[in-house]
C-alpha cells in the first residue's frame, strides 16, 4: 500500500514538472493558432520557424556564443586551474575565493555589475560584451571540473618532464593536458549548457538589437508567445535531452 502511495507521489511531482513542457511540445504540433483548441496535427510551425529571421538570428547568436564561450573558458579555465593548483597555500586560497565570487553572486548583480563596467568604459553593448560576460561566468565551472583531475594526478610526472629537458609549455601539452582532458571536456560541456541557458546576465550585457533566444523569448512573452516559439522550445528540449544523455554517459564511463 505504502509502495503504491510512494509511486503515486513521485508520479504527481514529475507530472508537475513535466506537464508544462509536454503541453508546450503538444501545442507545437497544433495546426491552429489557438492554445486551447486542438485543430489537427501539423508541422506548420516548424516550417515557419526556419523562415522566421528573428528566431533564426537569435538561435545563431545563442549557439555561437555558447560554443565560443565554452572554448574560451575551457582554455582560460584549464590554464588557470593548472596555475592555481601549483600555487602556494595563501595565494591559492585567495584565488579560489575570487573564483567563487561569480558563482555565488546573484545573476542579476553579476549582470548589472558587468553592464556598469561596459558603460563605464564606453564599450557599446552587443555581441562581444555578451560573449565576454558568458566567459566570465563559465570559467569558474571549468576550473571546478579540472581541479579534481589535477589533484588525482601524480605530482612528480611534471617535475620529471622538466628534469628530462621539457620546457614548461611542452610539459603542459604532453604531460598535464592529456591527464586532465576528461575534466576539461566535462567543464566545457557544462559551460556550453550554462551559456545556452543564461537569461539574466545576457539581458543586462546586450543591446536590444542583439538578442539571444532567452532575451527574445522574454521580449515576446509580454506580448504573447508565437506558436513558432513552441516549436523552437520543443526542439531545444530534445537537444538538451540528447546533450544530457551524452554527458551522463561520459561521467558513467569515467566512473567505470
Amino acid at each position: 500500500m505504502t509502495k503504491i502511495l510512494k509511486r503515486v507521489y513521485l508520479g504527481l511531482i514529475l507530472l508537475f514538472l513535466y506537464v508544462p513542457i509536454i503541453v508546450l511540445i503538444v501545442q507545437s504540433f497544433n495546426a491552429g493558432k489557438s492554445r486551447a483548441k486542438w485543430e489537427g496535427f501539423s508541422f506548420t510551425w516548424y516550417g515557419q520557424l526556419f523562415n522566421d529571421p528573428s528566431i533564426m538570428n537569435a538561435l545563431w547568436i545563442t549557439v555561437s556564443i555558447a560554443v565560443l564561450a565554452a572554448l574560451f573558458s575551457a582554455v582560460l579555465g584549464t590554464l588557470a586551474a593548472i596555475g592555481i593548483h601549483a600555487m602556494r597555500r595563501r595565494p591559492q586560497a585567495v584565488m579560489l575565493t575570487l573564483n567563487n565570487i561569480p558563482m555565488t553572486m546573484p545573476d542579476i548583480v553579476t549582470g548589472i555589475s558587468l553592464m556598469l563596467l561596459f558603460i563605464f568604459t564606453k564599450v557599446e553593448r552587443g555581441y562581444v560584451t555578451m560573449l565576454l560576460a558568458h566567459i566570465t561566468f563559465d570559467v569558474p565551472y571549468v576550473i571546478l571540473s579540472v581541479m579534481p583531475k589535477l589533484q588525482q594526478m601524480n605530482k612528480n610526472t611534471y617535475e620529471a618532464a622538466l628534469d628530462l629537458g621539457a620546457t614548461p609549455v611542452y610539459a603542459l601539452f604532453h604531460v598535464i593536458l592529456p591527464e586532465v582532458m576528461p575534466g576539461v571536456i566535462t567543464g566545457a560541456m557544462l559551460a556550453f549548457t550554462l551559456s545556452l541557458d543564461d537569461f539574466t546576465i545576457s539581458y543586462f550585457t546586450t543591446s536590444p538589437l542583439v538578442q539571444n533566444l532567452s532575451t527574445l523569448i522574454y521580449s515576446q512573452a509580454r506580448r504573447g508567445i508565437k506558436p513558432t516559439m513552441n516549436a523552437l522550445s520543443a526542439l531545444m528540449f530534445l537537444v538538451l535531452l540528447a546533450l544530457l544523455l551524452v554527458v551522463n554517459r561520459r561521467t558513467d564511463s569515467e566512473k567505470a
Binding site: Y9, L10, I13, L14, L17, P20, I21, V23, R35, A36, L76, G77, A80, I82, G83, I84, H85, A86, M95, L98, N99, I101, P102, M103, T104, M105, P106, D107, I108, V109, T110, S113, L116, L117, F120, T121, K122, I135, T136, V139, L144, Y158, P168, L172, T193, D197, F199, T200, F204, S214, I217, Y218, A221, N230, S233, M236, F237, L240, L243, L244
Partner: protein, 339 residues
C-alpha cells in the same frame, strides 16, 4: 545610454593597474628565474580583476555617489524612503512654487514611501515560502528515490535533472501558457463545469512558478546525500529497536542535513533575486526586489541608476550573509551544491 560622468581617475586606475600587473608578472619571473607553473593562472587573474573585481567595485562606487560623482549616502536612504533622492534633487525654488500652487508632495509623487524595503521583505517572504514548499515536496521525493529497494530510483533522478538544465525562461513561459486565461487548465476547468478562473497575474501564480523552477534544485542535492549514506546505519537502528519514524528522525534526517542545506541554498538564493518569474507570471502586478532593481536600471534617469546600485549592493550583502550562515551549518560543503 546617456552620458555617464566617468571621473578621469577611473581611467588612471585602470592604466596603472594594468602596468602594475605586468610589472608584478615580470618581477615574479625574474625572482623565480624562469617560468613557474602558477604563471599559467595569470591570464585568468587579469580576467578576474577586469570582469569580476572591478565590476563589483563599480557597483559599490555608484551606490556611494550621486549622479554627478560626489560621495553621498543618499542612495541608501532611498531604501527606507523611496523618494528621498528624487525629493532632494528637486530645485527648492521650484518646490516653493509648487507649494504656493497648493500641490503636496503626494501630488508630485515625491512623498515618503516604503516600497523598497517592503518589496525586499515581500521578496524574502516569497523566497522563504518557496524554499519551505520545495523542501516539503522535495525531501519525500528524494527519500523515496534513494531507497535501495526502489529499482527505478536512479532512472527517475535523471528526470529530475533534465528540467534543471532547461532554459528557465522557457520553463516559465511553459507555465505561463498552462495558466493562461484560455490555457489548458482553464479549458479543463470549463469542461468540468467549474468555469474559467483567473490563474495568471497574481501572487499564487508567481509562487507556483518559483516552486516549479527551483524544485529540482532541492531534490537533487538531498538525493545525492541520501544515496551516498551508509544504509547499514538505519538498518542497525531498526535492529536495535528503533521504529521507522525514530530511525528517520534520529539517523537519516541528521545525516542528510548537508544535502538539505545545499538544497536550501540553491532554492533560496535564486528565489530572492529572480525578476523574470514575477514579471511573466505576475504580469507586473507582483513586484519582487529583483523587479525593483531591474526597473531602476531601465530608467533613463541616472539618479535611479545610483539608487539601483545601492539596492544591488544591499542584495549582494544579504546573499553573502545568508551564504555565510548556511556554510556554518555545512562547513564541508558535503551537499555538493553544484551539479
Amino acid at each position: 545610454m546617456t552620458d555617464f560622468r566617468v571621473p578621469a581617475w577611473g581611467y588612471w586606475i585602470m592604466g596603472v593597474g594594468l602596468a602594475a600587473f605586468i610589472v608584478m608578472l615580470v618581477m615574479y619571473i625574474r625572482r623565480n628565474r624562469g617560468f613557474k607553473r602558477p604563471l599559467f593562472a595569470s591570464p585568468y587573474v587579469l580576467w578576474l580583476v577586469v570582469f569580476t573585481v572591478i565590476p563589483c567595485l563599480l557597483v559599490a562606487y555608484f551606490s556611494f555617489t550621486d549622479y554627478q560623482g560626489n560621495f553621498t549616502l543618499d542612495n541608501f536612504k532611498d531604501f527606507w524612503d523611496s523618494n528621498y533622492t528624487a525629493r532632494k534633487a528637486m530645485d527648492p525654488e521650484e518646490m516653493k512654487m509648487y507649494e504656493e500652487m497648493g500641490l503636496t508632495l503626494e501630488d508630485l509623487g515625491l512623498e515618503r514611501g516604503t516600497i523598497n524595503i517592503n518589496t525586499l521583505v515581500f521578496s524574502l517572504w516569497m523566497a522563504f515560502l518557496c524554499t519551505v514548499i520545495c523542501l516539503l515536496l522535495g525531501y519525500p521525493a528524494a527519500h523515496i528515490m534513494a531507497n535501495r529497494d526502489f529499482k527505478l530510483g536512479p532512472t527517475l533522478v535523471v528526470l529530475f535533472i533534465v528540467p534543471m538544465w532547461m532554459n528557465f525562461l522557457l520553463r516559465t513561459v511553459a507555465m505561463m501558457t498552462l495558466l493562461e486565461d484560455n490555457g489548458v487548465i482553464n479549458s479543463l476547468l470549463e469542461a468540468v463545469g467549474i468555469g474559467r478562473q483567473k490563474l495568471l497575474n497574481n501572487v499564487a501564480a508567481v509562487q507556483v512558478g518559483m516552486v516549479y523552477n527551483f524544485l529540482p534544485f532541492m531534490v537533487f542535492p538531498i538525493y545525492n546525500v541520501l544515496n551516498k549514506m551508509d544504509y547499514k546505519l538505519s538498518e542497525a537502528a531498526m535492529d536495535l529497536g528503533c521504529d521507522k519514524w525514530h530511525t528517520f528522525y534520529k539517523v537519516t534526517l541528521p545525516l542528510s542535513l548537508p544535502g538539505v542545506v545545499s538544497g536550501i541554498t540553491m532554492v533560496f538564493m535564486p528565489a530572492v533575486t529572480t525578476f523574470y518569474i514575477s514579471r511573466l507570471l505576475g504580469g507586473g502586478k507582483v513586484q519582487l526586489f529583483g523587479d525593483l532593481i531591474e526597473a531602476k536600471f531601465l530608467s533613463t534617469s541616472l539618479r535611479e541608476w545610483n539608487v539601483g546600485s545601492a539596492l544591488s549592493l544591499i542584495m549582494m550583502i544579504l546573499i553573502l550573509i545568508s551564504l555565510g550562515l548556511l556554510r556554518k551549518v555545512d562547513p564541508e560543503g558535503e551537499g555538493g551544491g553544484m551539479v
